[in-house]
Amino acid sequence: MYTSEFAYKKANSVAEALSLLQQHPDAKLLAGGHSLIPTMKLRLAAPSALIDISKVAELRGVRKENDTLVIGAMTTYHELETSNLLKAHCPLLPQAVYLIGDPMVRAKGTIGGSLAHADPAADLPASMLALGAKIKAQGPNGTRVIEADDFFTGMFSTALQEGEILTEIHIPILEGAKMAYAKFPHPASRYAVVGVAVVVDGGNVRAAVTGAGEHAMRLGKLEQALSGQPLTTANIAAACQGLLSPGNLNHDLAASREYRAHLVDVMAKRALMQAAGL
């Protein structure tokens, strides 16, 4: 596998990375590299330069600020999986991250890299939507915060603008909320054919699916059906039917539209049963 020629620049700070982006207009930011490098090796992408931000200290780690968890964009999956803060305040993320790839992938892959890449089959976008996360981006004109609901705009496309860097993910702490992620992995790639994240905060249900459509999306029908209802087996089963119509869903060798739509129902049900402890 041989990429086209490119320059490699290592950034030591967000400011330096922003400046390098200005200097190299065709550059790509390099995080864990698990999506970008294979694309380059297949010569589907040929950036003039890679700006490596994976070691930028200010982009790494999980911290608690009042009622919010702040996750640096370059925090690896492994760090998320083993974070005591997340286990205590947002168990959904360690659970979902554990289902990503294998230990080698989780050692290199980063949350920010995944969200910015916006692979329609990536796992974490569903959790971001279900948790109501906010995504912080820094650009030449300053910093802005994007709601997760507004972040994913299409297949491999996000609300990030040219020259912007995704720096942090802010997750509201929902003490006592029940949450779970259920995934039907692609047998070969182990990406999500369908993955459903649910967060039940008191009577409020938030649910989102990844893998089904062009980008991760909320399951509005499910949220409406279950919000304010007791989480019983019967209620869950009744709510998880025909959540998405097959017409607009993804289809590939592993799953037709119809089968995907069916899997959304099954995974939603399994996520809810797990969250409810049933």
């Binding site: 041989y2 020629e5 692609h186 070969a188 790639s189 060798l253 592993a254 899997l263 099954v266």
Partner: protein
């Protein structure tokens, strides 16, 4: 002879270098002045090549040459021949670089040689090929339809060959008078071999001596040398040395003579520089010869007593775009001849039509023909048992060849030399707790859980093979094997074998046997293989032949050493050679243990020849060429237990048990490892793997994002044991074990899945049992039941 090492689970001597990344694979090598090659490959399954413009590539800095098929043909390079011919077979030319047309995605159109692989790959993108895409055909049965696009102009109907075996009239009569018959339409899914090490070749040409050396990923370097020298390039055979160094897996795919090897040899001479090429994984997917790909109508007939009276098979075996080295043998003699299985079926007929298609060539892949035969036969047996209302195991038992029937002549050419099938079956049933399993299955079904049990028996014919027999069947090769055992003055021993180890652990297992034969420490034996410059001629490793055929040659050569050593000992001990016994690592006068010489004493004196028998040659080495009397016939029982999730269609393996009979086991660690790996590959075919082509001949599963190889979490801890029925016609009674796991496990897993789906009224699905396929079948069945 007391066995000190035979049967011992010794750790592999190969492993430290493989595990620590210090093996020596072809791509690890680099020679001074070495250039590297990249291939320009057709993106179309079928296209006219109207024009190739290399001018931009040639001006790219660092590019040394752009080679076309026409250039090589003009230089006198011939096409690549096949190694097996049937009467009437069509063998259209297979040039290393195609000249007029591209015939499959990945067909080589030009080769770029440059200072580095990076430059070669960059420049390959600059070679402008003017293609005129043409209609293509990917499925064998489609290629046989009237008006289908022809793959080769001189084979307008795409029929490469037809072949049949058995007495058709007798079979038809048996069906006409049958008590019951069953019929299945089966597709045996096409597989991509996916050896861990991609193919690689490095060629060196020495102008002064006009000699070539080719390092290449091969299971059989002598076959490469013969084909290249005698047929393709006209290099005098003694001017070409082929070396297969460490090779990371083959599974058949590294038997064949591939185009890239010819291209690097040609380029090395043209440029007078060494030239290397290593496949990218995406090249491996479309150029390593694929496996299986059958479309079959299979039928079975029984009488009122539940005895199988006939099996009738009609198969379309896809050959792909070109014939590779063993392709014509795989769906014929390695397939039709195996259709008796372990059963007393008196009448069998098999007809095969082998079309060309616009796909990657298809040839032997682990098991090669025998998994296809076992799969269809064992599917028929399960379906028939259900039809008869019999437990599938009891139906099998009723039809097994009894132990007193050996040697057993099947109606499809093979004569099984030995076997004890029922005892082997009983051992497996007892180990797995078959009756309890069936009870559990019934219980769980009441709870809405769908467990399936697949219990199959199988035989295989391996250890290729009597040369005269395979020659009479169309092989363009002998199938004996060679060994050279060389004792050094210090008593250390080099063993040269014509077989090749690319993961099988020969360096360990063969040394164990030689050490026992010579009664010396196992560390004193080293195995040398994979180099035409060092070994006697040999035919390589495939068809589980290395132990039964290659090791038999080694044992017989070793016994020549022992006989000579006794003569030297007799001379030194002033005794008659007849009175010398070889015990406890010493050559001693019978009954006089004090009068003894060690192996070292003998080895030294054989080389000094100071005090030496007058009528004996000095030196201590021996060669043996061993041509087996028959194939060997390993057999066994494999049992798979699966659970189907009816909501998603996902199949989960719960248990897997195998009881294999490969005769005496040399090294249980290695034999079990072979079985484990084989089972994983067979499970891959049943549940996960398929090379999917679209109608235009594009492969849709040509990468690891889409093509599912089995992983650790698809497997379970395998329960494994052996029975031991020695082969009666080789010196150690050993049989092969390399392919047994794959041959058996596809059928066992398939039958288990179908057993789990029985409550839904599903009789047959084609592999692989992907979640959507299984879910659709269940969903369809539920809808149908609801409609009732």
């Amino acid at each position: 002879m007391a066995n000190k090492f035979f049967g011992k689970a010794m750790k592999r001597v190969e492993d430290p270098r493989f595990i620590t990344g210090t093996g020596n694979y072809t791509d690890d090598m680099s020679l001074p002045g070495m250039a590297e090659a990249a291939m320009v490959r057709s993106p179309y399954a079928h296209a006219h090549i109207k024009k190739i413009d290399a001018s931009r590539a040639l001006t790219y800095p660092g590019v040394l040459a752009v080679i076309t098929g026409q250039e090589m043909k003009d230089a006198g390079i011939n096409g690549i021949p096949t190694g097996w011919l049937h009467p009437g077979i069509k063998t259209p030319p297979h040039y290393a670089i195609t000249i007029d047309k591209a015939r499959h995605v990945g067909d080589i159109v030009a080769a770029v040689i440059a200072e580095s692989r990076q430059i070669a790959e960059d420049a390959a993108q600059l070679v402008e090929v003017d293609y005129e895409p043409l209609p293509a055909v990917a499925l064998g049965s489609d290629a046989l339809k009237p008006g289908a696009p022809a793959v080769h102009d001189d084979v307008p109907d795409n029929v490469c060959f037809t072949w049949s075996i058995g007495d058709k009239a007798a079979v038809d009569a048996a069906f006409a008078s049958a008590y019951k018959t069953v019929k299945l339409n089966l597709r045996n899914n096409r597989l991509v071999p996916n050896a861990m090490e991609p193919r690689a070749s490095l060629a060196q040409y020495l102008k002064a001596s006009d000699e070539y050396t080719l390092w290449t990923t091969s299971q059989n370097p002598h076959i490469h040398r013969l084909l290249i020298a005698a047929f393709i390039m006209g290099i005098p055979e003694h001017k070409l040395r082929v070396i297969a160094p460490d090779v990371g897996g083959g599974f058949g795919s590294k038997i064949y003579q591939y185009p890239e090897e010819i291209i690097v040899l040609y380029a090395a001479k043209k440029l007078n520089r060494p030239v290397k090429w290593t496949a990218r994984r995406s090249e491996s997917f479309v150029t390593d010869s694929h496996g299986r790909d059958h479309e079959t109508v299979a039928e079975m007939a029984v009488d009122q007593n539940g005895k199988i009276t006939a099996v009738r098979v009609d198969t379309i075996a896809n050959m792909g775009a070109y014939l590779t080295t063993f392709a014509p043998a795989v769906p014929t003699y390695l397939y039709g001849c195996l259709l008796a299985g372990t059963y007393t079926t008196p009448h069998i007929y098999c007809h095969v039509t082998a079309p060309f298609t616009h796909t990657t060539p298809v040839d032997a892949y682990r098991g090669a023909g025998r998994p296809e035969a076992t799969y269809l036969l064992e599917r028929l047996v399960d379906v028939m048992a259900h039809e008869l209302g019999m437990d599938p195991v009891e139906f099998r038992r009723k039809n097994l060849i009894p132990p007193d029937a050996f040697p057993y002549q099947t109606p499809v050419a093979l004569q099984y030399d030995s076997g004890n099938y029922e005892a082997n079956l009983d051992k497996a049933l007892e180990m797995v707790g078959y009756q309890d399993l069936r009870r559990q299955q019934a219980e769980l079904r009441k709870q809405g859980r769908y467990i399936g049990i697949g219990a199959i028996t199988f035989i295989e014919a391996c250890g290729l093979a009597p040369s005269a027999l395979v020659g009479s069947l169309g092989a363009q090769a002998g199938q004996w094997e060679s060994a050279l055992v060389r004792v050094m003055p210090t008593g250390k021993v080099e063993v040269f074998t014509g077989t090749h180890s690319h993961g099988q652990g020969h360096e360990t297992a063969f040394a164990q046997v030689v050490a026992d034969e010579l009664q010396i420490p196992v560390e004193d034996v080293v195995l040398v293989h994979g180099d035409t410059g060092r070994m006697p001629y040999g035919w390589g490793s495939y068809g589980s032949r290395s132990a039964p055929t290659g090791l038999s040659a080694i044992v017989l050569a070793t016994r020549k050493i022992t006989d000579k050593a006794k003569k030297i000992a007799a001379h030194l001990l002033e005794a008659s050679p007849d009175d010398i016994v070889h015990e406890d690592g010493k050559f001693m006068v019978k009954g006089v243990p004090d009068k003894a010489k060690t192996f070292f004493d003998i080895a030294l004196m054989a080389h000094l020849a100071h005090n030496y028998p007058a009528d004996l040659e000095p030196g201590l080495e021996a060669t043996h060429f061993y041509d087996p009397k028959n194939f060997v016939y390993p057999f066994g029982t494999h049992i798979a237990v699966v659970e189907v999730d009816p909501d998603t269609g996902k199949v989960k393996l719960l248990r897997y048990l195998s009881v294999d009979d490969c005769g005496p086991v040399i090294n249980p660690l290695i034999a079990d490892g072979q079985v484990h790996g084989g089972i994983a590959q067979g499970l891959g075919q049943a549940l996960l793997e398929e090379a999917v082509y679209d109608k235009e001949g594009q492969i849709l599963s040509g990468n690891f994002l889409e093509y599912t190889l089995p992983r650790a979490d698809d497997m379970v801890q395998i329960e494994h044991d052996h029975t031991v029925t020695p082969c009666p016609h080789n010196p150690l009674g050993i049989k092969g074990i390399g392919e047994a796991g794959t041959i058996a496990s596809t059928a066992a897993v398939a039958n288990a899945v179908m057993d789990a789906l029985r409550p839904f009224g599903i009789v047959h699905l084609d592999m692989p049992y992907t979640p959507e396929k299984v879910w659709r079948a269940i969903h369809g069945s539920r809808l149908a039941q609801a409609a009732d």
